[in-house]
Symmetry: C2
Subunit: 307 residues, 2 copies
C-alpha cells in the first residue's frame, strides 16, 4: 500500500504519481494556495490582507474552493455570483452558492445579467453566431464582473482559474505562437487607471484533480453540471486533455512547463497596444474602431459583420 | 476515392489529411526541399550552388533522400559515410551506401571511427556509462564529421535531420524551457572561425512520413535497421510520438509550431557563452574546465566524474 510522501502513513489520495494521507493532502493544497497568493514563479504577490477582494463564484468546484480558502485565510472578501439564466445549469449554480453562503455564514451578492444589466444571453449568442459561445460569454462575464467590482470599490477580482486552465491555454498558444495570449496571460493582471480592476488567479498552482479531491474531502458543495452552451466550444478542453496525456508520459511536465512560462513570459512582450476609450461605454479598448468587444456584442450597433 | 489536391487525379499518397497522386507528390517533396534550401521561415538561404557541401550519409531514409536530392539538384557535394562498427547495423548501413554510390555513379568517402580515428565506441560507452548513448554517439559523430569537413575543405556539412526531428526537439525543449536548446537549434548553424564548418539541415520542411513515402516511391535504398544502442535512449522518440498524436488532433499544428519557432527563435537568444580553445585538441568549447566534450569522452583524462 502506497505511503504518504509527507508523513509515511497509509495514503488515501493518489494524484500524478504522488501519494498523500488526507491530513497531509489538506496541508499540501493550502500550501500551494498560500504560495499562489505569494506569487511564486509570478514574481510578485497577488494580493495583501488589507485589500478588499471580489471573489467571482460560479458554483463550480474551482470557485467554491477559492471562496472557502479565501474565507478560511481571513481575506477581506465579497463573494459575487452572476446569474446567466442558462436554465437548469444556472438554477443549480445559484442553489449551491446560496447554500454555501448559509453554511459558512458569509453573504454572497447575487447579480442577474438579465434583471441588473438588461442582457439576454440567448439573443447575444444569436447575434454573434459565428463566434465561439464560451468566448462571447467570457467577454460579457469579465466586463460585468469588472463593472460590479468598480461599484463595490474593491481592490481586486479573484477567479477560480486553476493550473490546468493556465497551462493548457499557454500550451495551445505556444503551439500556435499566439503572442497576443502569450504576452498577456498571468495569474496577476494589474489594474488599468480607474477602469479595470486588478485581476488575480490564486489557484494557478492547483490542478483540476487536486481541487476536485480537496472539495470532496472538505465537503465543499459544488455543481458538476456542464454548461448547456459549452457544446461545440471544446478546443480548450481538448488541449487540457492532450496536456494531461503528456503529463502522464513525462511526469510533472505540466507544472515545469507552466511555471517555466510564468518565469520567462517577458520574452513574449511586444509593444503595448495603445488603449482608447470605448465610444459607447468609455471602457478601455484596443479595438481599431474604438468600440469595445462588450459593446459590440450587446449594443445594437451597425458593424455586426465584424463580430 | 480521394483526389490529388494538386491535379484532381486519383490520389495514391495519403499523409496528414492531404492526398497526392504520385507525380504531384514528387513535385511537392522537391518543392519543400527547394524551399528548405532557400531557408523559408529560417530567414536566410542555407547554401549556394557554388559552395562545396559534405553530405553526411548514414544509410537511413533521411540521409539517403538528402543525398539523392542534392545530387539531382546538381549541388557540389561529397557524400561521406562514417562507419561506427555497431555490428550488423553498421554492416547493413555500409552496404546500402556503397550500393547507392554505384547506382548513381557518385563516389562516397568512407571513414571508420576505429581505423581512421582510433576510437572504440564500445569503450567510450563503458567509460561514459551514466550518459545517454545517443548523446555520446552524437557528440563523437559531430566532432569527427566536422574534422573530416575541415580536411576536405568544404563550405558546409548537410545532414538529414527532418521536420519531426526539429519539431520534437523544440517541443521537448519548450516544455522544459531549455533555453540552451531553444537558442541554438536551427536548420542553419553558421561557421565559427576556421574551426567549425557551417551546418545545414535542408530536409527540415519534410516529415518522417513524407521522406519514407518518397524514398519508397523513388526506389532509393535505405536501411530500416534500428541502432542496437538506441535501446534506453528513447526520450526524443517519445516526444516525436506525442507531437504526432497532437498533430492528429490539431491538424497541421506540427508545422505551424515549428515554423513559428523558426521565425521567432531570436526571443530565446541569451548572451553568447564565450568560447575557449580546448586544452587538448584546440577546438572551440564552452566548457568551464577548458576541455571539449569530445576529448572528455575519448581521451583518457582524469575528471571522469564530470562525464
Amino acid at each position: 500500500m502506497a505511503k504518504c510522501i509527507r508523513c509515511g502513513k497509509p495514503a488515501s489520495v493518489h494524484l500524478e504519481g504522488l501519494h498523500f494521507c488526507s491530513d497531509c493532502f489538506k496541508i499540501h493544497v493550502e500550501k500551494e494556495f498560500e504560495e499562489g497568493i505569494e506569487g511564486h514563479a509570478v514574481g510578485s504577490r497577488l494580493v495583501n490582507a488589507q485589500e478588499k477582494v471580489l471573489v467571482a463564484v460560479s458554483g463550480g468546484k474551482d470557485s467554491m474552493v477559492l471562496w472557502y480558502l479565501m474565507h478560511k485565510h481571513n481575506f477581506n472578501i465579497i463573494p459575487v455570483h452572476l446569474n446567466l439564466h442558462y436554465g437548469f445549469f444556472s438554477e443549480k449554480s445559484l442553489e449551491v452558492v446560496k447554500a454555501f453562503s448559509e453554511k459558512i455564514g458569509q453573504e454572497v451578492r447575487i447579480f442577474s445579467v438579465k434583471d441588473d444589466f438588461g442582457i439576454d444571453m440567448e439573443g447575444v449568442f444569436k447575434k454573434a453566431k459565428n463566434r465561439p459561445r464560451c468566448g462571447v460569454c467570457g467577454t460579457i462575464k469579465r466586463y460585468l464582473i469588472n463593472k460590479i467590482a468598480l461599484d463595490l470599490k474593491v481592490d481586486a477580482i479573484a477567479t477560480g482559474h486553476n493550473l490546468d486552465d493556465g497551462a493548457s491555454n499557454i500550451f495551445k498558444a505556444i503551439l500556435n505562437w499566439d503572442f497576443e495570449t502569450l504576452s498577456r496571460n498571468s495569474p496577476l493582471s494589474p489594474p488599468y487607471k480607474d477602469k479595470l480592476v486588478k485581476r488575480i488567479k490564486p489557484l494557478y498552482r492547483l490542478s483540476d484533480a487536486e481541487l476536485k479531491a480537496y472539495a470532496d474531502m472538505m465537503q465543499i458543495d459544488y455543481t458538476s453540471e456542464v454548461c448547456p452552451y459549452k457544446i461545440g466550444s471544446v478546443t480548450l478542453s481538448k488541449s487540457k486533455e492532450v496536456l494531461n496525456e503528456i503529463n502522464e508520459e513525462f511526469r510533472g511536465i505540466k507544472r515545469t512547463f507552466y511555471y517555466g512560462y510564468l518565469r520567462n513570459r517577458d520574452i513574449f512582450k511586444k509593444e503595448e497596444a495603445e488603449l482608447k476609450e470605448c465610444k459607447i461605454c468609455g471602457m478601455p479598448t484596443s479595438s481599431e474602431d474604438g468600440i469595445c468587444s462588450f459593446c459590440k456584442l450587446t449594443k445594437d450597433i451597425e458593424n455586426e459583420k465584424e463580430i
